[in-house]
Amino acid sequence: MSAIFKDHDSDKPVKRKWWTSRVAIYTALFLWAVICLFPIYWTFTTSFKLAPDVMRGNMVPWWDFTPRWKGWESIGFSPRLIGEVSTVRDEFLKRFWNSTVISLTASFLAVVLGSLAAYGLSRFNYRFGFMKNSDISFFFLSQMILPPVVLALPFLVLYKSLALLDTRVGLILLYTLMVLPIVIWIMRDQFQGIPIELEEAALVDGLGIWGAFLQIVVPIALPGMVAAFILSLVLCWNEYFFAALLTATNSTTLPVMVASQTGSQGINWWSMAALSSAAILPLIVVAIFLEKYIIKGMAAGAVK
């Protein structure tokens, strides 16, 4: 039926307008997709290039250059080296492991501490001295504006006297502190969305407040917690400033390793590209498979 009307002369401009808006929308989308993807594509392909390929500006593998493993060999990952002992690979894996342990532990700690605090603040009345609930919330969230540089130097001195410099524990503590306000911001929103009648029913049925929290509320709020956890993970994994100041050899994380190579290696593009690719790869995987949670975490608090 609609076909009859759409062929009419007076409908043609409408159709043309619809088509132009489609074309405009998809052009914009593709343009921005290229802007987002090209640096990543460039880094990945460069890690398989040799010096002449870089100088000639070749970009498409197998078409204008032949992929080589040279870049990946410089951090010990290539079909030829994978079975052998490689110090560079051990070095890389050590940094990778440091990053993993530190960001996982810090995110976990922050989610535990932050969820408890957010739950308490959304359910009970507190009075610590002059501080009421809204003041306590503000106290936690205001930590977000604290620039890392204010804490960095005192921590340097404190950690020195506590023998926590260049240890994982030291970084974990700081990272937990750094993401805690964000976790509280997200979780407060989550808990406010859970109807209070559920816990009231649980209390009537004989659970304590902690029992109600652990058995009733936590399972419901779990997706929110996962969202907060993943967002924290991303922030901790990418953190550079504290790691650069407070670690030297033992507990250096991946960003510090990448940064320390940028200056020294000059035009050694392939190895830098391989190192950068390896450092960003885990997070790209996280982004592709857990995108739902990341978006959920960031959208919390923006919309009621």
């Binding site: 504006i145 960095a152 130097l153 960003p255």
Partner: protein, 377 residues
């Protein structure tokens, strides 16, 4: 009417949401035990700290190698304090236990270091000098007053913060695109999100050092094709713009996702009603969508500005503040003050001053915009 609803709202937030009826019967003995636990561990920690202090100042012959045992004693005290809440206050203590660990954690990691920072910012502490910290009154303040590079870095921060407005426009446009009727929406959402996942350090190399490399970088090549001789970090304005662009590239997805969430929560009827009333696309955006999006926009911009004030990683790794301090942010400037000159005392003073400026700025900002925000921060 307005005031009434405002008080009602605060009542809602302040009101005891989950009512619990408790009949605790706590014996005096139990209460005494709880208090003893807190005071005992506190006294233990304090005496340990005093002992260590006496050892470090040379009044006592033997002590520990470092202050680690004092830290353990402090943690013991914190645990005792948490336990004592339940021992002394029963059910009420169990409620306190939700917030207390996080509060203790933040206080011990922020408040104490801040007080300590306040002290070292008035000393001439240089890690390279053997004397340790010596109070030097207002000498650091005077030095800061005459330090052109610090004021320059502050001025740069103003530019960087202003760049948020452009990021906002782009992010809003992208959110609108993603919210329109398109195919493969999930694909585009993931792709648009990717830059946010990358660490600023990796971005520094991927874009700042390789794609913008003057001889072989693809962008330089492209510019040469058009007939422009590329120079990205030579002049002050271009270098600053490049830093802004890289930072924007990483953080636009952040604003975009908040705005997209806002767009998806808009009441569809209102927008359709405006279409029925004959509004063109632009009109319905200007008159309906944009005003409805104001709270989300303000929240996104405020949070983005707060993140922007910490900008440092990209600058440290790409330009180190050059050329001539043109791209320096306050954080990267202080970072080098420490790295190159080990000037802990002076660097800390600069950081404290920056913190004070930030607090003033953010407070004023929140005051001005809070009436458009969904909820007070």
């Amino acid at each position: 009417m307005l005031a009434e609803s405002a008080t009602h709202q605060t009542m809602m937030i302040e009101g005891d949401l989950l009512h619990t009826v408790t009949a605790d019967n706590i014996s005096d003995k139990r209460k005494r035990f709880g208090k003893l636990l807190v005071w005992g561990t506190a006294l233990f920690g304090l005496s340990l700290a005093l002992w260590q202090f006496a050892f470090e100042t040379g009044r006592v012959a033997n002590g520990f190698d470092n202050w680690r045992p004092v830290l353990y004693a402090y943690m013991l005290w914190a645990t005792a304090l948490c336990a004592a809440q339940v021992i002394v206050n029963g059910e009420k203590g169990k409620r306190t236990l939700f917030v207390l660990p996080a509060a203790l954690f933040v206080i011990s990691l922020v408040v104490f270091p801040l007080l300590f920072a306040l002290y070292i910012s008035f000393t001439d502490w240089n890690l390279a000098s053997p004397n340790g910290p010596q109070p030097n009154g207002l000498a650091n303040v005077r030095e800061m007053w005459n330090d052109e590079f610090y004021w320059n870095a502050l001025k740069n921060m103003v530019f960087y913060v202003l760049a948020v407005s452009v990021e906002y426009i782009i992010a809003f446009g992208l959110a609108l695109l993603l919210n329109s009727q398109i195919r493969a929406r999930k694909f585009f959402r993931v792709v648009f999100l990717l830059p946010l996942m990358l660490s600023p350090v990796a971005v520094s190399w991927m874009i700042g050092k390789s794609m913008l490399e003057v001889r072989f970088g693809p962008i330089s090549r492209l510019l040469r094709e058009i007939g422009i001789e590329p120079s990205f970090f030579g002049s002050a304005e271009v270098a600053r713009f490049m830093i802004m662009a890289m930072d924007a590239w990483t953080f636009i997805p952040f604003m975009m996702i908040m705005l997209l969430a806002g767009l998806q929560a808009l009441p569809q009827e209102v927008i359709e009603a405006s279409k029925v009333d004959g509004a063109t696309g632009w009109q319905s955006f200007k008159e309906v969508i944009f005003p409805l999006m104001l709270p989300v926009s303000v929240t996104a911009i405020v949070i983005r500005i707060i993140f922007k004030l910490k900008l440092a990683d990209i600058i440290i790794n790409v330009t180190s503040g050059g050329p001539g301090g043109a791209t320096d942010s306050v954080t990267s400037f202080i970072f080098r003050e420490y790295r190159d000159r080990s000037n802990v005392g002076y660097g800390t003073l600069l950081a404290i001053v920056y913190l004070i400026l930030i607090i003033i700025f953010v407070t004023v900002l929140l005051k001005v915009v809070s009436r458009w925000m969904e909820r007070p921060a």
